[in-house]
């Protein structure tokens, strides 16, 4: 196995994002992570759609395709199904993945395709210069909604869980260490890994995530989900999450017994718990969880397909074309 440094994953293409864009930090985190991922560079493929975020493959010195708007999960599915030896990563935006590409996303999740899906959520269409997206908050004034958006937004983690995803996580551009930790777990996961990455678009939607990045704000709002640990946050750990009547509920820590506080376990088979956690916030407003919501085992599409092919070969032998042509009966003319 070749040893890599981050620069092995950089390309000669000038990075074309606005100065200050959150995409830069994510790129750095991914490159850094890949250097230590333990997969040969030529075995890695990045497939993206269209959007600022989707320029990503051009900057990764791996195989890559900057495809068309919304279709990256479909293209990646075909690649991964036919080449299960590869590490296939998808980079997409909130418009690309959730608007035009929503269907491909949810289907790749339910199939448990072995794709690592990085959704750069900046709550805006960056590339087309600032229309609202399916994650923009109600009332948002944008180029296409001068009087404010009237669409209720998706909660991407809820949607993914509702679509039978086996791995669902959230991280944020500004915290590279956190991002790398999540990437690592996603890579280790067998099957689709859905990662929502909050990403600041400083040109069209600046400070959208300030509640999680602002020095003051983040203390109160960042809820770290850490497997095996109690879900506690806030100044001096003053807040806690408990499960009450099926709702994940925020309480003052000192109002509940320690044993009542939820211990985070993303591996629970029942998706209800991860779903409940995903409802703690609807967008980056108020206390908002970061980390892995759900991580469960289910056979991947690729594995099952390979097994079926192996079974077929075992039972019927390698395909014999001449035999196939006469398999529906034949007759001979002399």
């Amino acid at each position: 196995m070749t040893t890599y440094t981050r620069s092995d994953f950089q390309t000669d293409q000038e990075v074309r994002w606005c100065p200050g864009c959150g995409d830069y930090t994510i790129l750095a985190a991914v490159q850094q992570f890949m250097a230590g991922m333990g997969v040969e560079r030529e075995k890695i493929v990045f497939i993206s759609g269209i959007g600022c975020s989707s320029r990503f493959p051009y900057y990764m010195n791996t195989y890559g395709m900057h495809s068309i708007h919304g279709r990256a999960p479909a293209i990646a599915s075909g690649l991964s199904a036919s080449r299960p030896d590869l590490a296939v990563w998808v980079v997409t935006g909130d418009g690309d993945a959730l608007s035009i590409g929503g269907n491909h996303l949810i289907h790749s999740l339910r199939r448990n395709m072995n794709l690592k899906i990085l959704l750069f959520n900046n709550q805006i269409y960056g590339l087309t210069k600032g229309q609202y997206s399916p994650t923009s908050e109600v009332g948002k004034a944008t180029k296409s909604t001068p009087l404010g958006s009237i669409d209720y937004p998706f909660n991407p983690t809820s949607l993914a869980i509702g679509a039978e995803a086996t791995f669902v996580a959230r991280t944020i551009d500004m915290d590279r260490t956190h991002t790398q930790g999540i990437l690592e777990q996603a890579h280790a996961h067998q099957g689709s890994a859905f990662i929502e990455i909050y990403q600041n678009c400083n040109v069209f939607n600046d400070k959208a995530f300030v509640q999680l990045t602002g020095k003051e704000e983040r203390v109160h709002n960042r809820v770290d989900l850490i497997a095996g640990e109690k879900i506690i946050f806030g100044e001096g750990g003053s807040k806690a999450v408990v499960m009450r009547n099926g709702s994940a509920t925020i309480v003052d820590r000192n109002t509940v017994a320690d044993s009542e506080i939820m211990v985070h376990d993303p591996t629970k088979a029942d998706a209800s718990i991860a779903f409940a956690l995903s409802r703690l916030s609807h967008g980056p407003y108020g206390p908002t969880p970061l980390g892995v919501f759900r991580s469960v085992k289910r056979p991947t599409y690729e594995q099952t397909m390979m097994r079926q092919m192996a079974d077929a070969q075992a039972k019927r032998g390698a395909g014999d074309l001449a035999a196939l042509l006469t398999s529906q009966g034949s007759w001979t003319v002399d």
Partner: protein, 623 residues
């Protein structure tokens, strides 16, 4: 078979014909397709040449007994080389009033009409829209009618087999089949063998079907009206092993053969749609050939997955019909821009919109050529008959791989579901169409240039993930020549547009010249493409039998055209282009060669009758 007749008083009379057209018509539930297929197989085994035309009810289940529920199957058997399932049936089997009503107008005057008169009760007559029974009002006087109590015969026959209740009458089609076997001297073994093999696991069903078959046969033997039987001698087919195949099956097999010839695993990304779904069904059965089928969430994902597989080094194909191909348009454009090999199969059906899903039309030719935004010329090739779909699939793969381009392969509903005896190729004769992957850098500085074209074919190299040192990125934005980097430079865009166009146009030097059949000095050339081949050839044959001259040519390659097409067209004072559309090929040759071609156009969801083309030729010949 003849020994059975020995038990009867008078020996049956046998008429020998060179060809016969038979149509079975009934309810979708009556098993007409199955009966037709069995009759066909028996005829093939007997040695006739033949061609079939199944005509399904539209996608939707129609209520039993109604006109929209009618399903029919037509077969022509002959002792010579025939090309179509025939125009007018010589013999029509009508299982119920609706089947009769929908088909009797096609039966030739004096033809034989076999009816299950027991189905002509008030309810069924009303459902078919008959006020009085046609069996009684004299309207069928022009035909030789044979009334068969099929319900009774069936019930009697299956009594002892253990089949009961609703299932009893399911064997009715075998009564009809047995009768036909008698009337047309068909061997019975193929049917018996097939039933035993097919229903091996349900012996009571096998027994019932065979009993019904025998009952029909016996009915023929003992009935005065059917004492006169007809036979069609075996055709002088060229020696070889034959099978009977539908176009969809042949196409699927062609893809498998291409995958072997290309030494690449086959990936088929698709979404079900009539009449293309059977390609998926067939391919999904052959995982032991290394075939991967991916039933995607929609057509866009189907082609998207195929593009991903192509990027990964598979022989990738996607297939659909009109509405689905429309959805794939944007992604095909991506495959064109990224110059990845991809086979796009369009099994045409009646349009526009959902249209007539089970009917035939050739109306997607211009759509194949121009159905994408921007300048995106693609090779387009079309199958002309069920078995031809096998060869065309291999040819599509060859072009896609050699030129690194998507290729559009046109079939249609008549090819897809029609059958013909196919002389099997020797699989060892299928040429190697493999292309080498790029494995090493192609630039002096040791880098990899994904758009450094092959100087002869203009194909770009194909470096697949997993190859160390050739990591590269492709995409839908305009690419800089050679480097493949994104480029918006005016001169580069012009160069790349021209290069992509040249690459496709140049394929004309790598395909056979167009062959003209018939009279080279004729006044008129009939030019066709696709599934009309048989009708056109048959029509020309008929014209020639009148001692008139006519030439025909059939295009497999619609883009680019064969290099000699212009010359061919100029050799004939008149050019007729019969098409099941409003004149799409005609428009192309008018535009390219300024040929004042005339059209014969039909958009009725049905193939041409041979006579329609014949009449038009005669008209143009002034005869």
């Amino acid at each position: 078979m003849t020994e059975k007749t020995a038990t009867l008083d008078a020996p049956p009379e046998t008429v020998i014909l060179d060809s016969v057209v038979i149509r079975l018509a009934g309810d979708s539930g009556d098993g007409m397709q199955l009966a037709g297929a069995r009759f066909t197989d028996a005829s093939a085994a007997f040695g006739n040449d033949l061609a079939t035309f199944p005509n399904f009810p539209a996608e939707i289940r129609a209520p039993a007994g109604t006109l929209p529920g009618v399903s029919s199957f037509q077969v022509q058997i002959a002792d010579f080389d025939i090309l179509t399932a025939g125009d007018e049936p010589d013999c029509l089997v009508a299982m119920n009033p609706a089947g009769l009503k929908a088909n009797v107008s096609d039966l030739r005057q004096g033809g034989t009409l076999i009816v299950n008169h027991e189905a002509f009760d008030e309810r069924n007559l009303a459902k078919a829209g008959y006020e009085v029974s046609p069996l009684e009002d004299g309207s069928l006087d022009g035909f030789r009618m044979i009334q068969v109590p099929m319900d009774t015969l069936t019930k009697e026959a299956v009594k002892e087999t253990g089949v009961t209740g609703r299932d009893v009458l399911r064997s009715k089609n075998f009564v009809a089949l047995g009768l036909l076997a008698w009337m047309f001297h068909r061997p019975t073994e193929p049917t018996v063998d097939w039933v035993n093999a097919k229903f091996g696991k349900k012996p009571e069903v096998a027994a019932a079907n065979l009993a019904a078959f025998r009952a029909g046969h016996t009915f023929g033997e003992v009935t005065e009206a059917t004492r006169t039987t007809i036979t069609v001698k075996p055709a002088k087919l060229s020696p070889g092993t034959y099978t009977n195949v539908t176009g969809n099956t042949a196409l699927a097999w062609g893809l498998i053969a291409a995958s072997q010839a290309a030494k690449l695993p086959l990936f088929y990304g698709t979404y079900p749609i009539t009449p293309a779904s059977d390609i998926l069904h067939e391919l999904s059965r052959h995982k032991n050939f290394g075939v991967r089928t991916f039933q995607a969430e929609d057509e866009i994902a189907g082609v998207g997955a195929a593009i991903g597989a192509a990027f990964g080094g598979s022989l990738a194909a996607t297939g659909s019909s009109g509405p689905g191909i429309a959805l794939k348009s944007e992604a095909i454009s991506l495959a064109f821009m990224t110059e990845l090999p991809l086979i796009v199969i369009n099994v045409q059906r009646g349009g526009p919109s959902t249209g007539l899903p089970t009917k035939v039309e050739q109306s997607d030719l211009l759509f194949s050529l121009f159905g994408r935004h921007g300048e995106s010329p693609l090779p387009v090739i079309a199958a002309s008959a069920p078995s031809d779909a096998f060869d065309v699939a291999i040819e599509a793969a060859r072009i896609a791989l050699k030129y690194m381009t998507p290729v559009i392969l046109l079939s249609d509903n008549v090819i897809a579901n029609g059958t013909e005896p196919w002389k099997l190729p020797n699989v060892d004769d299928i040429p190697d169409i493999s292309v080498p992957f790029a494995t090493a850098p192609n630039a002096p500085d040791g880098s990899y240039l994904p758009y450094m074209r092959n100087v002869e074919t203009f194909a770009r190299p194909w470096a697949i993930p997993g190859t160390p040192g050739l990591e590269h990125r492709i995409g839908g934005l305009e690419k800089e020549a050679v480097s493949g980097n994104v480029s918006y430079t005016p001169a580069n865009h012009q160069l790349m547009t021209d290069s992509r166009a040249w690459k496709v146009k140049n394929i004309e030097n790598d395909i056979p010249e167009l062959q003209v059949a018939g009279d080279g000095d004729a006044e008129i050339l009939v030019l066709g493409w696709g599934s009309t081949a048989g009708s056109i050839r048959s029509a020309a044959d008929k014209v020639r039998r009148r001692d008139l001259k006519v030439a025909t040519a059939h295009l497999r390659y619609l883009n680019p055209f064969p290099a000699n097409l212009g010359d061919v067209l100029r050799r004939f004072p008149k050019v007729l282009v019969p098409e099941l559309n409003s004149g799409q090929l005609r428009m192309l040759i008018r535009a390219e060669f300024l040929t004042p071609a005339e059209g014969l156009n039909k958009i009725a969801g049905q193939p041409f009758q041979v006579s329609e083309i014949e009449d038009k030729i005669m008209e143009m010949l002034g005869s």
